[in-house]
């Protein structure tokens, strides 16, 4: 019996995943549990393991996308079986969607990506040019053919590949502006680009800014650091505090989906984390129910995995709110209009802490001050609600003693 290799359903994601690399060639021998395929989606790379010993037959080659639940290959037990499977399921260049009955998700109607509806149907293009375009992910509908009768020929695709290596510059390159190097837009970079553009172009975002006196939090952190082996970071404290504030203002912990505002039961706080390839947002689940020490440990573990590129899908899923702490960039009094992550409705950015001259009780004093910037989706949140939420955050940070007792206790 052959074993189909399926793209498993991953969390909320219903977008097709990109096949990054087959770890064995067509007909290659694979062993049970070994990694056979790397896929990428939503800023994350994941491995698919073999579910048995045998010979690999690739149906969907690298570089193409596959729907959730689709079969991208098979593991044949014997070489005879391999031949049979190869005959029955030829390696496709246009992604044959083979949906399994049990994995059809009601909410996700995948784009029909089959040979018949292949992009660019009806365009005059030579066979070799079409093949090259598919192999190199070139959109042929954007190419003007130079062959007889305007047919797209090999040379045109070669030129397009050459052009695609130049960032933001098409074939008519401007003189005096030469390309030094190019970075292909794929994997995490592509996901960031798509997510950020999707976010800002599909919601009504505006940013509320202010500053917070950090005197007490700085003291609190010093005290805690003296008591614990693991140092507690400002980010840990922000997650702890914001979780409490979100509990008090549940509307901030919501999403606009399917024409209704869904207020989430869980308070799952994502932490924007810079990595070599870009940016990733691991999530601390149920942050409102966890003590600070546990939050701190979890954040350290997630950050470590992020740096090593070993985050699993479950580590970045189900976020309901995001914090991005720019304090790591060092001191400096600055503001930024951060962009909301994914389908959330708000994000809190925190700046560096720097000594500022402020007025307190009619006196001019110097205090450690942190800037904050709270971007929210005006479709869901009004200015008054945003102000109330940020005021709660400010109060808790300027007076962390309030954390000892929660509102519910009274």
């Amino acid at each position: 019996m052959s074993i189909p290799i399926k793209i498993a359903k991953i969390g909320w994601g219903t977008d097709p995943v990109e096949l990054v690399e087959w770890r064995a060639g067509e007909g290659g021998r694979v062993e049970n549990d070994s990694v056979i395929l790397a896929v990428t989606t939503k800023k994350i790379e994941s491995d698919i393991h073999a579910e048995g010993d045998g010979y690999l037959h690739i149906v969907v080659p690298e570089g193409l996308k596959a729907e959730i639940g689709s079969v991208v290959g098979y593991i044949a037990e014997t070489e005879e079986e391999l031949k049979k499977i190869q005959g029955e399921n030829p390696t496709d260049s246009g992604v044959t969607v083979e949906k399994e009955e049990d994995s059809i998700d009601e909410t996700s109607v995948p784009e029909a990506v089959s040979r018949r509806s292949r992009k660019g149907e009806g365009i005059r293009i030579s066979p070799v040019a079409r093949k090259m375009a598919e192999e190199n992910n070139i959109d042929i509908s954007s190419i003007t053919g130079t062959g007889p009768g305007g047919r797209i020929v090999r040379k045109d695709i070669e030129n397009a590949i050459e052009d695609s290596k130049k960032p933001g510059v098409s074939s008519n390159m401007q003189p005096g502006k030469n390309v030094k190097s190019t970075i292909p837009l794929r994997g995490m970079r592509k996901a960031i680009a798509e997510n950020m553009y999707q976010s800002i172009s599909s919601s009504a975002q505006l940013t509320l800014m202010g500053e917070i006196d950090m005197t007490e939090v700085v003291k609190l952190r010093e005290t805690l650091k003296a008591q614990f082996v693991d140092s507690i970071t400002f980010t840990d404290i922000f997650v702890f505090v914001v979780a409490k504030a979100l509990k008090e203002h549940p509307i901030i912990n919501s999403s606009l989906e399917d024409n209704e505002i869904k207020i989430w039961e869980n308070i799952n706080i994502g932490i924007a984390t810079a990595v070599d390839e870009g940016l990733i947002v691991p999530v601390v689940k149920d942050a409102d129910k966890k003590p600070l020490s546990l939050i701190s440990r979890e954040i350290k573990a997630l950050a470590g995995k992020a740096r090593e590129g070993k985050l699993d899908f479950e580590d970045i899923e189900y976020g309901t709110f995001t914090i991005t702490n720019m304090g790591a960039l060092g001191e400096g009094y600055r503001f930024e209009t951060v962009i909301i992550n994914g389908h959330e409705c708000a994000i809190l950015g925190t700046g560096g802490i720097s000594d500022r001259v402020v007025a307190r009780d009619g006196e001019i004093v110097i205090r450690p001050v942190m800037t904050f910037y709270f971007t929210y989706d005006h479709r869901i949140i009004t200015g008054a609600v945003a102000g109330a939420f940020t005021e709660t955050v400010r109060k808790l940070l300027e007076n962390p003693y309030l954390l000892i007792i929660s509102k519910e206790d009274i």
Partner: protein, 323 residues
């Protein structure tokens, strides 16, 4: 080295093979004392080997081919001289029903038989002396088909044909007769089923057979002046066809024009084009062009005949349509 015409090179091949193997003999019309074949390819052989091994036959193609098949089945190595390929019609039962003996008897006998004939138009000899019938004969099955394009190839291929244990149809184009080439004194063989790249190029592949190779080469020379680089591939054998060389060339150039001197429907050029469409589709950067003859009998009128046979201009035009 000696400068020889195609017929002289073929004559050498017969001579060498008859000397080497006493089972080799030739039978046919007008191959003996008075003529030595219509183009002299058998000249001198009857004097050297006698009438038993150079057997003059009555005017009966059926008898020539039938006799050759019987002799081959009985262990001899005959060469049946059919004069013009057009005359094979008279022996078509032998062609399509008897030559297949080795296959039909499960390989129990060998059939080492060479049928030699001249093909091609260009001499105003009318339809019954001017055909090539390449595509038609490719459909016969059970025989190899050899189509040399120059004297050197003709000699090496003919010797291999005679030594082959299967029926081989060896077709010499009449218009190749005056072409001369340096032929080595020492013996050489050219294996059957191996194509030859007659000219290397990068922009387009022209697969041509027999005399059309010469036409394609001069078209390529003309196009070189215009900056178009043409690769000319000569399959040399239509069966077995060297697909690897043809497809390899198409993979390089991305374009192919096939040329043969027979009516386009089922022409050798059309059959090669079909093979490339099926097996080399992903290499193609332009439609395949087939250059062959109109679907008419070969005209007697010299003006019409020259229109009928593909020329340099036809090939150049086809190339320019896809470049």
């Amino acid at each position: 080295m000696k400068e020889l015409m195609l017929t002289q090179a073929e004559n050498q091949a017969f001579d060498e093979e008859m000397e080497r193997d006493p089972d080799v003999f030739i039978l046919g019309e007008d191959i003996g004392l008075y003529w030595g074949g219509p183009f002299g390819q058998f000249r001198g052989l009857i004097e050297k080997y006698g009438p038993k091994r150079v057997r003059e036959t009555p005017i009966s193609e059926k008898a020539i081919l039938g006799g050759a098949i019987g002799a081959a089945a009985a262990g001899m190595r005959p060469c049946a001289a059919m004069m013009f390929v057009d005359f094979l019609g008279c022996a078509f039962d032998e062609m399509i029903n008897q030559l297949q003996m080795r296959y039909m008897f499960g390989g129990k006998i060998k059939l080492p038989l060479t049928i030699v004939a001249n093909i091609g138009a260009g001499f105003s000899t009318a339809a019954q002396h001017s055909k090539s019938m390449l595509g038609l004969l490719m459909g016969v099955t059970g025989l190899k088909i050899v189509v040399p394009s120059n004297p050197y190839d003709a000699k090496g291929l003919l010797k291999s044909s005679i030594r082959d244990d299967n029926p081989v149809l060896f077709l010499s184009h009449k218009k190749l007769t005056p072409i001369t080439q340096q032929i080595p004194d020492e013996e050489y063989l050219i294996p059957l089923g191996k194509a030859d790249v007659k000219r290397e190029g990068n922009d387009v592949t022209v697969v041509a057979t027999a005399y059309m190779v010469q036409v394609a080469l001069s078209a390529a020379t003309k196009l070189q002046e215009e900056g178009i680089s043409v690769e000319v591939v000569d399959p040399r054998c239509l069966i077995p066809l060297d697909k690897e060389t043809i497809l390899g060339s198409v993979e390089k150039t991305g374009r192919i024009v096939t040329v043969s001197e027979d009516p386009k429907t089922c022409s050798a050029a059309a059959l090669i084009a079909a093979m490339v469409a099926e097996e080399g589709f992903d290499f193609l950067d332009a439609p395949i062009k087939v250059v062959s003859c109109p679907a008419t009998p070969v005209p007697f009128s010299p003006a019409l005949e020259s229109y009928y046979v593909p020329d340099e201009e036809n090939i150049i035009q086809a190339i320019k349509e896809i470049i």
